[in-house]
Symmetry: C2
Subunit: 323 residues, 2 copies
């Protein structure tokens, strides 16, 4: 049997990184997870990436890598492989492809983390057979990735797809105007905590610790899911807050569908995974209400299928494409 060609895909987040070794059919052969620790600087992060790649290769029983792909959070120049700006990593103009390529002696492709996940979905997940789609990833922030005419679209400044930064409330002050400001998991948590602090009733209250200052750390995606529609302890207040977010996401994706004549919207990220079908259905309902009427019936609005592996698989696919 000839030696198998192995590709590495990396999903680099501000807190954790996920590394996978896959074969040419994108079957996962081995995996590893590491802390990112951006506070230790670029060299520290690179060292942990290298460790993680070694661990994942060992787990996969692979000794040679054909190519490596990496999705990083921020604005990326994919041609040069440069991280132009990544707020969570505190990086500016880091030539990630060059640095990693030198260290790991393999070809490296770099792209935005959500672009990479959307590319994975487009080829192997919820985006199959669609050439015009937008992926919206709702987690601590809101990112997006655009596939137009069957290819990832970057735009003039490499920031295309950033639906989280479009504004819903132009006359609110800075920090409260955008979709991300109003519909990220972070904003859901803040709203729930604010309502509970101001004495609104919720089943969640009895589950929170004694220190109200720590509540925002306690209301994570899993806790939200438990109290959302269909959850173990469905709760009116949590349903109210999350349904409102679904409506705002619906309006924003509707405008993207109208402007770009999109065939499909894929929703992913931590909040979407946690809240599942009831959330996606509500986004779709809100979107259909306000989208350009002639597209309302045709457009698909669906959940990610690769879920938390979309990034790793998409990054590995990117590596294979660019090879």
């Amino acid at each position: 049997m000839p030696p198998q060609r192995a590709f590495v895909g990396i999903d680099l987040g501000g807190t954790n990184m996920q590394i996978g070794v896959v074969d040419a059919d994108m079957k996962v052969l081995g995996e590893a997870k590491k802390k990112t620790k951006p506070e230790e600087g670029v060299e520290g992060v690179l060292a942990r990436i290298a460790e993680g790649v070694n661990e994942a290769c060992a787990a996969a029983g692979v000794t040679t890598i054909a190519a490596l792909g990496i999705g990083a959070p921020g604005v990326i120049d994919p041609e040069k492989g440069v991280v132009v700006e990544a707020v969570n990593l505190r990086w500016n103009d880091v030539p990630l492809a060059e640095l990693l390529s030198k260290r790991l002696k393999t070809k490296v492709a770099v792209d935005n983390d959500v672009n990479v996940a959307v590319w994975g979905e487009n080829k192997l997940g919820a985006g199959k057979n669609s050439n015009n789609l937008l992926g919206v990833w709702i987690g601590t922030g809101i990112g997006g990735g655009l596939v137009l005419n069957g290819r990832l679209h970057y735009g003039h400044w490499f920031s295309a797809g950033e639906i989280g930064h479009t504004v819903l409330f132009p006359f609110l002050p800075l920090g409260e105007r955008t979709l991300e400001n109003n519909a990220s998991r972070t904003s859901v948590t803040e709203r729930i905590v604010r309502l509970i602090r101001s004495n609104h009733k919720s089943k969640l209250t009895s589950e929170l610790g004694d220190d109200p200052l720590k509540w925002t750390n306690e209301v994570k995606s899993k806790v939200i899911a438990k109290h959302y529609r269909g959850g173990e302890r469905e709760d009116k207040l949590v349903v109210e807050v999350v349904d409102h977010v679904a409506e705002m996401v619906g309006v924003s994706v509707a405008n993207a569908v109208t402007l770009l004549s999109l065939e499909r919207i894929i929703l992913g990220g931590g909040l979407t995974e946690a809240t599942g079908k009831p959330f996606v259905d509500r986004v779709a309902e809100a979107a259909r209400r306000v989208v350009f009427p002639r597209l309302a019936q045709g457009v698909d609005i669906v959940a990610s299928r690769l879920e938390d592996r979309a990034g790793v698989i998409g990054a590995a696919m990117l590596a294979m494409d660019r090879k």
Copy 2:
């Protein structure tokens, strides 16, 4: 001297059509104008197009056409040359390229009217040297055309660029939600007339006829321009209404710039031509305030340069491209 290659460009509107014969450098050699009269059906419109083409060719001293391009208002399938839906013409699934080609014995390219104008601007006007831009045409309605990676972008349903149908006020009723509902010339007229009827002071009042029911027909672009900033009889009420429209256009184009990472916005159409630089400057100011901050300084927001010839020239260019 060898015979010159001549191209015909047609800007087909719901009320009028404009026809131009140009050479390969897009120099206009002859022109004609006709009423569209959509109420007389497809055959009637085709007959008037043919007459207009003959008149323009006679004016240009041209006997043979190399190719013809036509921009029509509505959703167009540019590959098949079919007008899928054109509300103003009352057309559905009209194979315009085929019908015109048979009648005029020449190759015919069809596209959306604003796409065609934006294509003209991209090649010869305010969009030169830009590969990622959106044109927004503000007239009786609001249309748009997108150039991405240097090519007109159509999307899955051929309706890409329709920024007029994106919503600004999702919780207002149908007919009051979209940019077009709130910022077309028609909506400016309705607002001004409503304010004057409800006794708001305006210099315009003294210029209106005796029948208040006819006022909406009287407040056209030229009248608005006369009373807007820098106009002959600048008027507080008109300035208020038009400035508000500029802000709404600014917010909408800002979201398009953020989502698509656009380099340039071109503003055209009757209302923009009438109100000029003060209007464009206000749109730009509003857009810069709410666009993804890292793009605020880079993006250009400019007025159309070809103005009412953009459609004819763009259509002729399209004919030449497709030939």
